[in-house]
């Protein structure tokens, strides 16, 4: 049984253990937490169970291969793995090339010296967002969740929720304002 209390710092340490010494036990622990969640995310995006599992596998393989590129000053562990899963899904929808790797990958594009306090800030970012998400009005959390989980472009969210596109957009804006306020000076 996997733990349901995410421990971002622990996960970051596991990724670094993989990067530093190809630590298979660290990888197994990371796999047990994330692989079933990545699979769940792929299922919600409309993938078949077989494809969802394959994409979860590819995502975790990339985590293993690119662990050295994980930079806790740039992203928390969950955020980093989310972006890998997202790029895997984008790739899977393409036939030939790997366009997700065309998108800027912050981990691969160092942009100058990282301030030491940013490492702390990024580790904290996920927990602040977690708290702020829990505080969002249901309707605002709903549009964000739909956008991330269900592969819905805004026009479809509009149809499904039965509210005008302008309302979808303003709910998203309000939600993001709250989340950003929760991040304070972090971003």
């Amino acid at each position: 049984m996997t733990s349901d209390t995410p421990a971002s710092d622990d996960h970051a340490a596991l990724i670094q253990a993989i990067a530093q010494r190809r630590d298979r036990r660290a990888f197994a622990a990371l796999f047990r937490f994330f692989a079933p969640r990545v699979k769940a995310w792929m299922l919600r995006g409309g993938a078949s169970p077989v494809t969802a599992e394959e994409l979860a596998q590819e995502t975790m393989l990339t985590v293993w291969q690119k662990a050295a590129l994980f930079d806790p000053a740039r992203a928390g562990a969950s955020t980093w793995i989310f972006t890998i899963a997202r790029n895997q899904r984008i790739d899977s929808l393409r036939r030939e090339r790997h366009p997700a790797t065309l998108l800027p990958d912050p981990a691969e594009e160092p942009e100058g010296p990282v301030q030491a306090d940013r490492v702390m800030a990024m580790a904290e970012q996920e927990s602040r967002i977690r708290a702020a998400m829990a505080d969002l009005p249901a309707e605002q959390a709903d549009v964000i969740r739909k956008a991330f989980f269900e592969d819905k472009v805004h026009a479809e969210i509009e149809k499904e929720l039965g509210i005008p596109l302008g309302t979808v957009k303003s709910r998203l804006r309000l939600a993001m304002n709250r989340l950003r306020a929760a991040l304070g000076d972090v971003t």
Binding site: A35, A85, A147, M176
Partner: protein, 203 residues
């Protein structure tokens, strides 16, 4: 100095990975040169990370981890090759077609992308109008060189135009140097000269 950025909904779709490829390429071109949007994107991706954490797990097959560890020595796939050295990332790695004349003082070079949007480079001589489609979907334009102005402001290198309403003042390239942009749209067809050019080349 970048003054025009993508909307929150567009950036969210980009972060979630649901923006059609051609539009994502234009958005990425802007984000690659914009620190503000880089930070906005990081915050949105962190939301994605938090949501991923909160999902009820879906069980994998029993041997999933073992099968994966058997592949532990596989190398990561190589990134796609640089095809267009003069263009900023990610455009430098995107396959492009040839240049097509699309009327007086404008040329068009389609980019190869899958999904429900199309896009390409457009090069417009000073003082000439850029094409603009009908407002039946999201359209993004990122300036690479030169500048243009429309009813909503002036757009220089790095700026991203995302028309929000139905004002229809055509964007016009500034006097001085030609204006090079990358444009993508999920609209049906371009109007005017580019629309004509599109039909000629069967896009």
């Amino acid at each position: 100095m970048i003054a025009h950025h993508p909307s929150e909904t567009t950036l969210l779709a980009y972060a979630a990975g649901t923006l059609p490829e051609a539009l994502a390429i234009v958005a990425a071109t802007h984000i690659g040169g914009c620190h503000l949007c880089r930070h906005r994107l990081e915050a949105l991706e962190a939301v994605g990370g938090v949501l991923l954490d909160s999902l009820p797990p879906a069980a994998l097959s029993d041997d999933a981890l073992d099968r994966l560890l058997a592949r532990a020595d596989e190398a990561a796939p190589a990134p796609p090759p640089v095809l267009n050295a003069g263009l900023p990332p990610p455009l430098d790695r995107v396959p492009l077609g040839r240049w097509w004349p699309i009327g007086l003082g404008a040329r068009w070079r389609p980019l190869q992308a899958e999904g429900a949007a199309w896009g390409g480079l457009v090069l417009v001589q000073p003082g000439r109008a850029l094409p603009r489609h009908g407002h039946d979907g999201l359209e993004l334009t990122c300036v690479l060189k030169g500048a243009f102005s429309d009813g909503s402001g002036r757009y220089g290198p790095g700026d991203l135009s995302e028309p929000q309403d139905d004002h229809d003042l055509p964007p016009v390239a500034e006097l001085g140097e030609p204006c090079l942009c990358v444009i993508a749209s999920e609209g049906m067809r371009l109007r005017g000269l580019l629309g004509w050019g599109q039909r000629m080349i069967g896009l």
